[in-house]
């Protein structure tokens, strides 16, 4: 265990935790926006996969990771429009629709990958960007300021999302339609338009999360996200529908995962203990979810379709 408590290993573990937290954070922030307006999207995983493939394929074809990011954003936005059509316009049940989106993303990306790429081909993904001066700070610089672009973007989006939800008129509308859509409608707020916007924004974030994943590892493979989208949905509950709470959850999950990886690498845990510790992030999330659920601040109209004519 003493090997773990060395500065270099602790610094590497925290940096790794931040990297691992990035896709969760992006996806969970997007889902937070959607859920605050009353829309649950269990299809985050599928949208992440579509964003991941879009980013990977674009980068593979053009050699540009930046173009990959743009394609991930676009793919997410398109999926947002599709999900808005299904849930807002056609009033489909949100839980089932989300699962449908997930299955669609899983199958569609596998099909596209096999047809367009075939064998996994490595790409040059996102490279670390060292923030001038800050990255030179001993230890702190390595932990916080030597990451790829999308990691900085993810963490900068946290205060931005908080501000949008809590300090803007649009945010007020989001909260209104998420709590009492009928009242919001009476006051002239377009519930459907607001929800459509949050769904598109949320899915765009999810697409970007998938893109971050593919561009960080520089590869695409079937089911690349391996359940991360579902964890992102759980993190929204974990964070009590607040941007900073979601960030705390993503960081906790990422750092615990990184710690477990380091322990295994150093042989601190092995065999059955290794298998048990691999479950630690998920177990910890469940425990915190149970605790948090006791003071649930879930939007009152979450999962409730709004039909003005009804």
């Amino acid at each position: 265990m003493s090997d773990f408590f060395t500065v270099s290993v602790l610094v590497a573990t925290l940096a790794s935790g931040i990297r691992l937290a990035t896709p969760f954070l992006l996806a969970a922030l997007g889902e937070t926006i959607g859920q605050r307006s009353g829309v649950l999207n269990l299809g985050v995983e599928g949208v992440m996969l579509i964003g991941a493939f879009a980013a990977y394929y674009a980068a593979l074809e053009t050699g540009s990771a930046t173009f990959g990011i743009l394609m991930a954003l676009a793919a997410g936005a398109v999926m947002g429009l599709v999900y808005a059509l299904i849930t807002v316009v056609l009033h489909a049940e949100q839980g089932i629709s989300g699962i449908g989106i997930f299955l669609f993303g899983l199958g569609f990306t596998d099909l596209l990958f096999q047809k367009q790429v075939g064998t996994p081909i490595p790409i040059r993904g996102l490279q670390p960007i060292e923030i001038p001066l800050l990255s030179d700070i001993p230890h702190i610089g390595e932990i916080f300021f030597q990451h790829s672009l999308l990691t900085y973007v993810a963490f900068l989006l946290v205060p931005a999302v908080w501000f949008m939800i809590n300090r803007t008129t649009f945010g007020l509308n989001i909260r209104a339609v998420g709590e009492t859509p009928e009242a919001a409608d009476t006051l002239g707020v377009s519930v459907n338009r607001t929800r459509t916007a949050t769904i598109v924004i949320g899915n765009t974030f999810a697409g970007l999360a998938g893109g971050a994943l593919a561009l960080e590892v520089g590869i695409f493979q079937q089911n690349l996200t391996a359940g991360q989208g579902f964890i992102a949905v759980a993190l929204v509950y974990f964070g009590a529908w607040r941007a900073f709470g979601v960030m705390a959850g993503a960081l906790l999950f990422g750092i615990v995962s990184a710690t477990v990886l380091q322990w295994k690498t150093l042989g601190i845990v092995s065999g059955a203990a290794s298998s048990l510790t691999a479950m630690a992030p998920a177990l910890l999330t469940i425990v915190v979810l149970v605790v948090v659920s006791r003071r649930s601040d879930a939007p009152a109209a979450l999962t409730r379709p709004f039909d003005r004519a009804a």
Partner: protein, 377 residues
Amino acid sequence: MTNQTRTRRTSRVGFALLASVALIAAGCGGDDDDADDGDDAPAATDAPDDAPDTTDAPDAPDTTDAPDAPAATDAPAEPAEAFRIAIVAPSASNDLAFTQSIVDSVNRVGETREIEVDITDGTFIVEDAAAALRGYAEDGFDLVIAHGSQYGAPLQEIAPDFPDVAFAWGTAADTFGIPNVSAYTVRADEGGYVNGTIGAQLSESGILGVVGPIEVGDAKLYVDGFVAGAIAQNPDATVNVNYIESFSDVNLANEAAKAHVTNGADVLTGTAQMVVGATGVALEEEIPWFGTQSNQDDLGASIVVASQVYHWEVVLEDIIADIDGGTLGGGVHILTLENGGLVMEFNDAFGLDAGIQASAEQTIADLASGEISTGVE
């Protein structure tokens, strides 16, 4: 030989189509009953999914595919004499790892006899694999291959229902006592040992890193063999092993490789389909990488030193010979360096030192002849 190969990405493509239909149905005012209808078609595996097929007209879905019979009425022009082989495997046919190893091997069988091959890959959900296995058996394939140790339980239920169909299951060493089931496995520790000896000679830090999936089957054998080989070559070497407890989490494999590098590893290896995450780190850090299962040169010509390649055709030919002779199963078949089922392929582009390669080839010969052993049980 004129051979036919069909690939079905059944579960995934089926899911995609099913999901699309379900979404539209649900959205068009359908109530729960609509969704239920969708749920009642688990033959996700059996949905009309011919799109990925590169040999069948991709834009002309095969309308003769009955939902529950994967290869229903393919009846090609002259299949009467072709030996019909079906493969059900957990990952993509071209994953450069486990699934590709069996697909490539079956194709090599096709070089010596006429075969018709139907593949259902990507069935990491065991229930989907079970549906595909049953479908192939119902369709009367000559040999149905369940390529994944996780498929044992469904195979144990399905095989007795089709006593006239031969099944092969791997990697496994148990036939459950069912007469129409053959098992196949691999002494992956042998190639792992060879890779370990080379790795120890290439490592300057004396620290080698291994990214494993779950500590079972051929993955465990390979990892144990690699550790044994490295220590045999350099008793002072440290081999850090990290089982990430997943066969598919590419991101975690990527971070595990980074953790190895942080802790001083300057040689990396790994096994299973998620290693593409780890090879990215090796490529970025320009660290030598050792592959297994399939030739992994494509993952990084400059870093892949050697790959242990599974040539399942060695055991498949035995199994097929048994079937031709009227024995549908009961045997356990093992790939080894000795029987040619394991082949070490060196990557010329890496430029391995001739002396090291010569010593590796001597190790291969010694393992094959039984002069030395890996010590792995």
